[in-house]
Amino acid sequence: MLNTKTISELSAMLEQGDCTSVEIVTDVLAAIDARDGQVGAYLTIDRDSALAAAKEADEKRAAGSKGDLLGVPIAIKDLLNVKGQPCTCASKILDGYTAPYDATVIAKLREAGAILLGRVNMDEFAMGSSTESSALGKTTNPWNADRVPGGSSGGSAACVAADEAVAALGSDTGGSIRQPAAFCGCVGLKPTYGMVSRYGLTAFASSLDQIGPLTKTVKDSAILLEAIAGHDEKDSTSINTDLPMFGKNLTDDHGLAGMKLGLPKEYFVDGMDPEVEKAVRDAVEHCKNLGAEIVDVSLPNSKYAIAVYYIIATAEASANLARFDGIRYGMRLDGKNPIELYGKTRAAGFGPEVKRRIILGTYVLSSGYYDAYYLRAQKVRTLIRNDFIDAFKQCDAILAPVTPTPAYKIGEKSDDPLKMYLDDILTTPVNLAGNCGLSVPCGFSSDGLPIGLQIIGDFFQEASILKVGHAYEQTTDWHRQRPVFKNLTNSSDVTGQRV
């Protein structure tokens, strides 16, 4: 059952010779075989190459190589380019596309000796909050198969929560790591904009996208962040500075004395599930008991975040997705002229949510509308950012809920895009401001669904939020809870439930 272990546990066992990478990968593949029929996290499983890489990692370790990720299998969200593999973005339009190069984070994982296990499901082009907009398959919440896993990194969160991976990479544009982590009961980190190279991440909204880890513990997120962060000359927006050792800096001292934690009153919104509010307020109290000073902060412009987000993100997406035209790669439906070819290909290749956002983004950039929408949204974005800058003058980190409710039912909101958009109210401000944010399990609803605590940090202050998250997690046991799968078959009627 090595698939249930964390990165730090496995790296210690590998180092001690208590297990091999081949054994880990074998156990993970067995869990996938047993559970993924129900969970549906994976789009493709690189079984043979993963086992071959595991064998190689074992040989390297035997020859004296070390490293926390050497021989540890990681699942990859299917919008990261992995050389020689498909990269579908859960869309039909990339049917047949094979990535000719490695994303920088993939190259870094390879360098660290991690095993690339396979690619996991997501909302089409990361546009969605439930993984329901995937054109390639359904992913369910490991805690309750009737519920969504969240999104857009739903596959990443579900595979980690179901122990079908040791850890995963996702991407977060408006909450796409933190929200599924909260829904599935795992840890998710959205790094500061510029912390991790975006080169090779198929862009949704370039000024908001960040790649980050989804893991079983805060420490694992720190280890994975350390492996993928840093300047990349291929991404001009990545920061060029020395970074701390995120993983090693997390110690067994779980006190928070001397830390000021901000509590924004605007983040306990109307219509919030009382169980979510209670779990988060209890977590705040817990941090206080660990020695932190709780201060009230205000983020008054965050209430505009959804409106601003759906203008800026869709505007950028309308240009970013223009390249999917059937000319050079992916799906193509022929036409009498280029315009007809584009029209037919894109009509057949994109799903409804993607089309909705491309149309919205095209509209807000159009002549005569630019000033009223795009330009004004950029100005409000600055106000939202300034709120955070002011707040961080008073505190070291901010505590908030991740989502207003726990995971909702599959199909419940898929017909009402606006309702689904509004669920991102607590996560999008962080992307718009560019800060970092961490989602940590902090309780369960009476239905047995996980609830997440959001810890928001100042620019490039990942070390602070990891410290708070680690202290909270190590003094609670929410993160140790795992969904139970009644039987290990491919039967689709099994339902995960809490122990």
């Binding site: 990535a99 001009s236 390249r323 050079r328």
Partner: protein
């Protein structure tokens, strides 16, 4: 018609910079490579690929701006220009919309002997499109050119005739070549212009409705298109019609412009800031360093040739008309002080050799060093006839001038005993000239001189011959 109407013409001139690699990726920038061999995920618009700015291109556009009198913007930014066409892999072009890197500028231009100053609005940096070729039943795309560095020099609508535009393009081309910014080879598409044309009644300040003629690389077509379009617009207005804002093409076979796209169908490019690139920051130190590296422009060279080297204005103009000739002249001037002789050779014998043989100066065997030696020899050691003969040999075959003079017996004779013999023969054989001279016609000595030169096969030193003849006749 010039009594009543005035044309206002502005040019948007695209110039491909001489960079080793493309604007936003490391692919080689070279002309004539196998199609689609200089490509990568970035210039092919693959998912996840990101642009990285080429610093050399920024240096070149800033130097171009400094050469054209622009102000260098310390903070400029990138924008996306959205349009769907197979020549643009991402279906948007990275360009600079509202904060370009070079602002303003002015270009002194000589139009038919008159100096005029044409002003610029801006120069901005962008990336080039791929090359589309249409064959029967298919279109082929070569992405080798996609993403190469392209700058756009935008003039104000300050020109008023096809001659103005022609001279402006020629001047820009020369400055870009002199500055090492671009080779401006029009046949390779390294320089293309869009031309905006409007007409208005003389005296009216407001510009008329403009028509844009896109993507022309031949200056002579630009002249034809302007002349046709100005005439068309005036005729239209005089017959009670109105010029409509539109994009027109030029058909060189028919010598006419034709409607391509009307205003209603104009593209909405939906510009917005490029989130994948940081703004371009250029420091004052950087600008002054680039300023100090700027090469001399044709106008400055002309001034130097006249003021420092003492050449006539005419010579200076001819020598600087082509950078290669001017560079050759400058190199030769390093070796000799016979500037006027060098100029005479380049404008005379060398120019006629280039015309006769069809071989460009730089491709000939003649070196600047050798030409400088010829000029020094012509100061006394060889005659001007011999100098021209020597240049022809050097142009075709090369070699060491001094050794050739020796080998071919070209040295001028100043030796008294040899001269005396030729002088005596000339006096003996030209009784009439001798009589005329003695009768007071000083010019008659030229006939005797010619006779000596003929006898010496051009080798006699003319001043020495004159002295010898005078001594004999006057004595």
């Amino acid at each position: 018609m010039t009594m009543k109407y005035e044309a206002c013409i502005g040019l948007e001139t695209h110039v491909m910079q001489k960079t080793r690699t493309k604007m936003f990726c490391g692919c080689k920038h070279e002309y004539g490579a196998e199609p689609n061999t200089n490509v990568c995920p970035v210039c092919l618009g693959y998912p996840g690929a990101m642009p990285v700015m080429n610093a050399k291109a920024i240096e070149l556009i800033c130097k171009a701006g400094l050469l054209l009198g622009c102000e260098i913007n310390p903070h400029s930014k990138w924008d996306r220009k959205n349009y769907f066409y197979p020549d643009m892999a991402k279906n948007y072009q990275i360009t600079q919309a509202d904060e370009p890197i070079c602002i303003g500028g002015e270009v002194p231009v000589e139009v038919n002997g008159e100096m005029k100053t044409f002003t610029l609005e801006r120069i901005h940096q962008e990336e080039n499109a791929a090359k589309n070729t249409h064959v029967s039943g298919a279109s082929l795309i070569d992405y080798n050119r996609a993403g190469t560095a392209l700058m756009e020099i935008v003039s104000n609508p300050c020109m008023h005739s096809a001659d103005d535009a022609f001279a402006y393009i020629h001047t820009i081309k020369l400055i870009m070549e002199y500055g090492g910014i671009s080779n401006c080879d029009m046949e390779k598409g390294q320089m293309r212009s869009d031309v905006n044309i409007s007409v208005r009644p003389v005296g009216q300040e407001k510009l008329g409705e403009k028509v844009e003629i896109k993507n022309m690389n031949s200056p002579s077509f630009i002249v034809e298109a302007i002349n046709y379009e100005v005439g068309r617009q005036i005729e239209l207005i005089e017959s009670g019609g109105e010029v409509v804002q539109e994009t027109r093409g030029y058909d060189p076979d028919r010598g006419e412009t034709f409607t391509q796209r009307t205003k209603e169908n104009a593209h909405d490019y939906r510009y917005f800031p490029e989130p994948d690139l940081m703004p371009v920051e250029v420091s004052a130190e950087q600008i002054s360093k680039w300023k100090s590296e700027l090469p001399e422009l044709p106008v400055q060279r002309r001034e130097r040739y006249v003021e420092t080297l003492g050449l006539p204005e005419y010579d200076a103009k001819i020598l600087t008309a082509e950078k290669a000739t001017s560079d050759f002249f400058d190199a030769a001037c390093e070796k000799t002080k016979q500037y006027k002789l060098l100029s005479n050779y380049l404008m005379g014998k060398v120019a006629s050799l280039v015309t006769e043989t069809g071989i460009a100066l730089v491709d000939s065997k003649l070196t600047a060093n050798a030409l400088a030696q010829v000029a020094d020899l012509a100061g006394g050691a060889i005659s001007s006839t011999a100098a021209n003969d020597l240049i022809e040999i050097l142009f075709n075959e090369g070699g060491d001038p001094k050794a050739l003079v020796e080998e071919k017996g070209m040295a001028q004779v100043s030796d008294d005993s040899a001269l005396e013999q030729w002088a005596d023969e000339a006096i003996a054989g030209n009784a009439k000239a001798v009589a005329d001279y003695k009768a007071g016609n000083g010019a008659s000595i030229n006939a005797l001189m010619g006779s000596v030169m003929k006898a010496s096969r051009g080798k006699a030193n003319p001043p020495a011959v004159i002295a010898m003849l005078k001594q004999k006749l006057d004595g």
